[in-house]
């Protein structure tokens, strides 16, 4: 009996809560406020200042040499700036998702700099989440930047981004098990069923597949993108593709679970499989940079500029380049690193080496393509 009565009370309480929520919703509907939408009307230029105080930087893991006298420590010694270097960018999408509500309010969560890939930098800029940079504030950066990086399609004239490193998307191959894989098309060969992985990043995997089909990703229509997504989707459904990965394809390669993967040129240090090597796909690779950007609401921009200029000194960048093993953005680093690294075409690629490569880009109309792609990923 007691149970009955209390359950009726429960229903009543629930009804009250529901009524309150509905009433509150009604109030909001009258208010008609909007969440999101960016604050693009108010793009500002970052104001420099003295190089001092505290500086918070968000970067990807593996992008900073370790040890007590690493690059961060050198900068702190030289300038007296206290650096809080955080490695909390694991994925462009996830990082954006985490920070977007703050950026929308014009806050950067205390960060003065973070490092994101080209297209994400562009997306943030278009939403008004980044500040523009006056080249006069960064003399060393713009004196030493490699000429190829000076005028990218996503940011003509480098108005809001400064490259941290560049890299190539292509093929990782276990040469002992599948020596003949040289094209992205080979990944669709039934011989390797369940033994290949692709990256879950739309802008990395799909352009490489389009290149393999002879389509120039820069000129590609939405139709081309959707066709390539469809081809990948069928391969996923048939079990040809084992998984869609982030950086963890390196684990599958190390454990011998796969014979080939779509992966990045600088990951040699984390692939612990002596037979695995990065190969330039016969049809070309994708080229991208991860860029330092200054978000809205960034504190202590003076120290942020000081950091960027410091990183672009070749003597400073050389040890960093030796550790990161991606392509350094600074001219003159090649002469300062260990000879075997200086000869490595994956770290210092010649223009001929990357002749067929394409700058990573987004499809003309992102929404339908991304939706189709996410359906493939979450099959």
């Amino acid at each position: 009996m007691r149970g009955r009565a209390s359950s009726r009370d429960g229903v009543f309480a629930l009804a009250v809560v529901v009524a309150a929520i509905v009433a509150a919703l009604g109030l909001v509907a009258c208010g008609g406020d909007t969440v999101g939408g960016g604050n693009s009307d108010e793009v500002t230029t970052a104001e420099g200042g003295p190089v001092e105080g505290k500086l918070t930087i968000s970067n990807w893991p593996g992008y900073m040499d370790p040890g007590p006298d690493n690059t961060v420590a050198k900068f702190e010694d030289k300038t007296g700036v206290q650096v809080d270097y955080i490695e909390d960018v694991n994925e462009n999408e996830a990082f954006f998702g985490k920070l977007q509500p703050q950026l929308e309010q014009g806050e950067s969560g205390g960060r003065s700099i973070f490092v994101v890939t080209d297209w994400m930098a562009k997306q943030m800029y278009d939403l008004g989440y980044l500040q523009e940079i006056d080249h006069a504030d960064l003399p060393t950066v713009f004196a030493n930047m490699r000429p190829q990086l000076e005028d990218p399609a996503f940011d003509p004239g480098r108005k809001f981004s400064v490259p941290w490193v560049s890299g190539m998307g292509g093929l990782w191959v276990d040469t002992a098990k599948a020596p003949e894989i040289r094209s992205v098309n080979d990944l669709f060969d039934p011989k390797y069923k369940g033994k290949v992985t692709m990256l879950g990043e739309l802008r990395e995997t799909v352009p490489l597949v389009m290149l393999a089909e002879g389509i120039d990703p820069v000129e590609a229509t939405n139709e081309d993108w959707l066709n390539a997504v469809d081809r990948i989707g069928k391969a996923a459904e048939s079990g040809q593709i084992r998984r869609f990965t982030g950086n963890d394809y390196t684990e599958d390669l190390t454990a011998g679970n796969i014979v080939a993967a779509i992966g990045w040129s600088g990951d040699a240090s984390i692939v612990e499989n002596p037979n695995a090597e990065w190969r330039m796909p016969a049809e070309g690779c994708s080229l991208w940079s991860d860029n330092m950007v200054i978000p809205v609401g960034a504190p202590n921009v003076g120290a942020a500029f000081g950091w960027m200029d410091f990183i672009y000194e070749p003597q400073v960048n050389a040890p960093l380049a030796e550790y990161i093993t991606y392509i350094p953005p600074v001219e003159g680093v090649q002469d300062l690193v260990k000879p075997e690294l200086a000869k490595d075409p994956l770290v210092f690629p010649s223009p001929q080496f990357t002749a067929k490569c394409t700058d990573q880009d987004s499809p003309p109309d992102i929404e339908p393509v991304n939706e189709a792609w996410q359906e493939v990923i979450t099959g």
Partner: protein
């Protein structure tokens, strides 16, 4: 009753109520409100009673929802089949090792969930000894694999949520009045009958609690499918993550979360009705 006496229950209720309002009612309100917005990241999301988000969020995702039920249901059943005998053994047969065994059940929790799941990737990798044993036993085809299959995801879910099954079962079994089992035997019941007609009904509250504690988190889990699954093992949690982080369709992600909550609520209600509310509340009179 003095005024003070009358206010005491409300005072005692206060902290819990406050907690519920701040961490449940308020977030639910904002999520509900978000689920009724429409727009995109660039135009902003405007509140306009967009009920269409709810059917839209289901479209194309029924497969993952069905899969979530299947995976979580299988994992719960397996956890019950593994957990019940284990809890029974710890409660009645472990003697002085009782505490040690309980500790062994809880010990994996000292490592984070993520690390434990990643460890399974190594244990189940294609060239691992365990997989070759399974191949020799013909449980896995010679060129087959364990990782990146449904089996791996279900195994991961079972492993990760097993303690949630064992602990309520143990707590319930430990309280069991063994004199009732003795009485059953005195009345000429076999061991099997005594178990089925005395022990099992009396431990229904533990089973119900264990099943709920296992099924509900397993249903919404996405880590196991992401790390141990392949391309065709995504669960509804992965879909919500993708909607939220990759497609940035916040309203649809919120709508789908709400629908899943409603679905779970419906399933749990039916289950409790079927198992008897008394069993859930620990009211033995109603349970029998």
């Amino acid at each position: 009753m003095s005024l003070r006496q009358r206010l005491v229950p409300y005072g005692l209720l206060g902290p819990g109520l406050l907690w519920l309002i701040v961490f449940f009612v308020v977030p639910m309100y904002f999520m509900g409100e978000l689920a009724l917005r429409s727009g995109s990241l660039t135009t902003g999301y405007t509140f306009d009673w967009a009920w269409s988000n709810f059917p839209d969020s289901l479209a194309g995702h029924t497969e993952q929802i069905g899969r979530s039920f299947f995976y979580a249901g299988t994992a719960t059943l397996l956890a019950l089949l593994i957990g019940y005998p284990l809890a029974y053994a710890i409660a009645f047969r472990a003697g002085r090792f009782k505490l040690l065994l309980l500790f062994a059940v809880i010990a994996p929790f000292f490592t984070t969930y993520l690390i434990r799941t990643i460890a399974w990737k190594t244990i189940l990798s294609d060239s691992s000894p365990i997989v070759s044993v399974l191949q020799t036993l013909a449980l896995v085809p010679p060129d087959g694999r364990v990782l990146a299959t449904s089996g791996a995801v279900i195994a991961g879910l079972t492993y990760n949520f097993l303690p949630f099954m064992i602990l309520p079962l143990y707590a319930n079994l430990e309280r069991l009045d063994l004199r009732l089992v003795e009485a059953a035997k005195d009345l000429y019941s076999s061991s099997r009958q005594a178990f089925l007609r005395v022990t099992l009904p009396l431990t229904m509250p533990g089973i119900v609690a264990g099943v709920l504690l296992t099924f509900i988190p397993a249903f919404g889990d996405y880590i196991n499918a992401q790390l141990l699954g392949g391309t065709q093992q995504s669960m509804v949690g992965n879909v919500i993550q993708s909607l939220y982080l990759n497609q940035r369709d916040y309203p649809e992600a919120a709508a789908l979360s709400f629908l899943m909550m409603a679905l779970i609520l419906a399933v749990v209600s039916v289950y409790i009705r079927f198992a008897g509310t008394g069993a859930f509340m620990g009211d033995e009179e109603e349970a029998t």
